[in-house]
């Protein structure tokens, strides 16, 4: 089992993803738009989400062993549903909510 901290390729990280996400404007309605439709413990499949999602939405809960989904970080790219189409149901947030790019 690998989580994002023990993957084999670590490149220099001077600005953390948390700091990057801090630059983004969100307008949340606090309703999740992401659902795990597969087994949330099926780490063979879910594992890559932890480092492939560019907003670090997905992490393994070390206590329960389940997938934690921090949907309010989502930058709405759709990578997760491309990578795990049978496990992640990702839809657009309700109209008008979610990210609001100032630059784009």
């Amino acid at each position: 089992m690998k989580d994002s901290s023990d993957k084999k390729n670590s490149v220099t990280e001077t600005v953390s993803i948390e700091d990057k996400l801090f630059t983004i404007n969100y307008d949340h309605n606090h309703e999740t738009h992401i659902t795990c439709i597969g087994d949330p413990k099926e780490w063979e499949v879910l594992n890559p989400l932890q480092w492939t999602c560019p907003a670090k939405v997905y992490t393994k809960n070390q206590d329960s062993g389940n997938l934690d989904i921090d949907f309010e970080n989502c930058i709405e790219c759709g990578t997760c549903q491309i990578l795990c189409p049978d496990h992640i149901l990702w839809v657009y947030p309700k109209g008008g909510y979610g990210i609001r790019n100032r630059c784009g």
């Binding site: 560019p54 491309i82 657009y92 990210i99 790019n101 100032r102």
Partner: protein, 433 residues
């Protein structure tokens, strides 16, 4: 209210279709999931004037464009070295009463402006609304279902400008969700710097701009490249690769972006800059072989939703502008003839075939599969180029004749002549189509 056409999305393709249709007098409804057009959208990003002038002839006088791209640079990076090639041309500059060849834009402002152009000609915009499905009756698309209360809206024709995540089209089997090796993830930061600092560092004047695309070791074995573009008071820096490569190589895109930002040849450009926005987006790279339906009864697809991207040449916005315009033109004819059958709408496919869009997509159909299969080319050849440059450029008392011989010997040791010839042949074969 009755509409002739519903357009899903107010991005590059949707706005192009909306401008074309509204100018032609059609009753257009454009549905956008953002509160304002542009706030969900992202690209590198560069627009090409020729494709936008066809829609808004004087766009460069009013559009929120950043900088003309007058100098294009291509770098090949190895672990510790960089080989640089650049092309600067005054012909790319703006002239009296003529725009520059290409401009950087920031999509949030740009798309808002472009949707405003459609509105000016009478298109109606319904923002903050997600289209959830198409209404299909007797095999014909006759409207959309939105996430508004009583959210059905009907029209005899629907144009999809949904973008890369074309959920509505996929739901009705007009195209399929791409596989992880058919779509690229790009992450980007917009970094603020004073205008004069940008001009000094990039050695450009107020009416010039530069683009850098960096290949090789910089992507840590992922198939893709990094980019750096000058805007007016910001620069855009990003990196992209196939979703499959980030997943399989266990590389986080945001960490790779830090690696790019800290690269010795890039860092000096960014020094002291402040990141004002981080963002990520997908690019459909399935190409010609994976093209969706494009045309059905009462339905047309354009832009990223229709995989209209030539990733090798960083072209996407021009494909979206032109495909959106062509969809709009065919839709106007369909409205005039009151015929929304796929048979009639097939004129759209014909127009795409006659334009650069399907010609380019067809001629590049083997390029991506080739690189996907031969990732080694993108690793080995940068090393080879670096070795050759180093051998030739190091002055150490060795006579030049011997140096050249040593260089050839060294290169051939890294790759056999037969291998090089074969690779070159295969590369030229897929590129020369």
């Amino acid at each position: 209210m009755n509409f002739d056409v519903i357009i899903i999305g107010a991005g590059a393709a949707g706005n192009a279709a909306a401008i074309t249709l509204a100018k032609g007098g059609a009753k257009v409804l454009q549905i956008e999931r953002g509160k304002f057009p542009g706030e969900k959208n992202l690209m590198g990003g560069i627009i090409y004037s020729s494709s936008l002038e066809e829609l808004v002839p004087d766009f460069w006088k009013n559009a929120p464009i950043e900088r003309p791209i007058t100098e294009q640079n291509y770098w090949v990076s190895d672990k510790k070295t960089v080989t640089k090639l650049g092309y600067s041309d005054d012909a790319f500059k703006a002239k009296t009463e003529a725009p520059a060849h290409a401009y950087t834009v920031l999509r949030s402002e740009f798309d808002k402006w472009m949707a405003g152009e459609a509105k000016k000609h009478g298109a109606m915009l319904l923002p903050a609304t997600v289209v959830l499905d198409l209404i299909v009756e007797e095999g014909k698309v006759v409207g959309v279902v939105t996430d508004r209360p009583n959210g059905e809206i009907r029209a005899p024709l629907v144009i999809s400008g949904e973008g890369v995540n074309a959920f509505v089209s996929w739901k009705r089997n007009f195209g399929n969700k791409p596989k992880p090796d058919e779509v690229a993830l790009v992450v980007k930061e917009v970094i603020e710097l004073p205008e004069d600092v940008i001009e000094d560092r990039f050695q450009i004047s107020a009416n010039e701009g530069a683009s850098y695309e960096i290949f090789g070791d910089i992507t840590k074995g992922c198939l893709g490249y990094a980019f750096l573009y000058t805007n007016r008071k910001t620069v855009s820096i990003g990196v992209g690769s196939l979703v499959a490569d980030f997943a399989n190589n266990e590389i986080a895109s945001y960490e790779l972006l830090e690696h790019v930002k800290n690269h010795k040849s890039i860092k000096p450009f960014l020094k002291g800059g402040k990141t004002i926005e981080y963002a990520g987006h997908l690019i459909p790279e399935g190409g010609y072989k994976k093209l969706p339906t494009l045309v059905a009864d009462g339905f047309l697809m354009s832009g990223d939703a229709a995989l209209m991207v030539n990733a090798v040449h960083r072209e996407g916005s021009n494909f979206a502008f032109v495909s959106g315009r062509l969809a709009g033109e065919v839709a106007l004819e369909a409205i005039k003839n009151k015929d929304f059958s796929s048979n009639f709408l097939n004129a759209y496919r014909k127009k795409l075939e006659d334009s650069f869009i399907l010609k380019d997509l067809r001629s590049y159909e083997d390029v991506f599969p080739f690189f996907r299969k031969r990732r080694d080319i993108l690793n080995d050849y940068p090393q080879l180029i670096s070795y050759a440059a180093k051998s030739l450029l190091t002055v150490d008392g060795t006579p030049k004749g011997k140096k050249k011989k040593n260089m050839v010997k060294g290169v051939l040791k890294m790759k056999s002549p037969a291998r090089i010839v074969k690779d070159l042949y295969n590369l030229l074969k897929v590129l020369g189509k």
